[in-house]
Amino acid sequence: MSYLELRGVTKDFGGLRAVDNLSFEVEQGEIFGIIGPNGSGKTTCFNLINGFYPLTGGEIHFRGRRIDGLPPHRICELGIARTFQVVKPLRRMTVLENVMAGAFLRESRVAAARRRAREVLEFCGLAHRADVEAKSLTIADRKRLEIARALATQPEVLLLDETAAGLNPRECEEAIALIQRIRQSGVTVVVVEHVMKVIMGISDRVLAINFGREIARGTPGEIARHPEVIRAYLGEAHA
């Protein structure tokens, strides 16, 4: 039995097929990378796993249970949390309160949720910003907050959507270190990423997609040399 599995998943938006008969499996404990050019269907994939969009076709299974068709809050409850590419801070709440909103999923008492949230902030290196309103964070800290808030729900699987986009090289390094710490803590991570360096550096396995279809799959080294991937990113002449 596979851990997290997409079987022939298809998603149409009107006449546009955003995800086309896509199948892959994520194994427990790994960092699984998904790459692809702009508009190739990476974020749509997350929106399907996390229940924001209904599937046009196919099935999604998690720990032997079919999860497509469930609402987003149920999927989070089952242990799949996500971040958003376009960060969604709860603007007029403090950083701590943002993370508490996540922690309440498993702790219904305020004091316990606050304690849990402080631990997560510490883990993510955001503790010094705990009492700041979320809307006044820098973009790098907002990305950290996205991760912290998702971690506070105590997920088994964490879907990270373009965490490194818009970060400078140093912030990128920090993000990579954080993602590795998250994996070490026992959480399975699925990363959608544009920044090659990030995804190639941390992923155990990588799936490359274009126009919603799989074009390659393998270790980061294999993917980087794959002619289809090079064609998708750099064009025919370089393949």
Partner: protein, 317 residues
Amino acid sequence: MGRKKWLLAAGVLVALVFPLGLRVPYHQHILIMILVWATLGNAWNLLGGYAGQASFGHAAFFGLGAYSAGLLVHHLGISPWWGMLLGPPVATAFALPIGLVCFRLRGPYFALATLALGEIFRLVFTNWVAFTNGARGILILPEFTRKLPYYYIMLAIFALSLVMVRVMVNSKLGYYFVSIREDQDAAEALGIPATRYKLYALLPSAFITGLVGAFYMNYVAFIDPHVVFSLGDVSVMIILVVMMGGVATLWGPAVGAAIYLALSEAFRARFGAVSLLPFGVLVCLVILFMPNGVMGEAARLGKRLAGRREGWGGEPA
């Protein structure tokens, strides 16, 4: 913390003793109406302020509460005080299907749906003459001739609503309400069932609103559909009271109600029939220049002075 407790104790004492010193019934009436609007504001604030679901149809719940009491007398000859037991559950029972339907909509669409809803109730209660006595309304004999008993009953209802809001927003519920207000998609991704928690805000809100409606029937002794289901004089007025005092602040509705009632009565005394015009201008100015209301601005000022944030209230996003 100690200072706050003393302040609260002093406030309770003043609220209990102050009306005894008022000799003019009109002044006592103003106090009762301030409590009525403060309580309605508390109820609205739970849903519209904290959970961010701006209802333009709270007159529906107010009217249902009032008619629950009125129709008991009208049809069965039972004391309208029983209406205070019947009104809140009736309003809550109607709120449940309303919420299930309207919470499929977001933002302005939700507001418009609730606005239409209030109007629907007004029209039904105007035209269903056999059951509601239509536009002739319902007249009862008031229980007390003095104002004071009504004042203390309403004070108790206000206190109940205040404690209820405070307990709710300081628990998990409050965090979830504000999360849904700030970003519903993010909230759902954090495992928050948004529709269910919006109902957790709506149902107590309707309950309190229905309770105040039932009290209003007992106190004023006359209702008709145009008064209790009024869009302008109930639904929108609740919103203005909360906006003036401070959306999503604990004491905002009370402060807003006091200022609103005092000002509108003063303008009425000074300008008579045209009082609505200067009053309307003033309300516009407040909304333009104090969008956070009195308590919201006070919290912001306090925060700037103390360098920290207070309450859930808010600056506009």
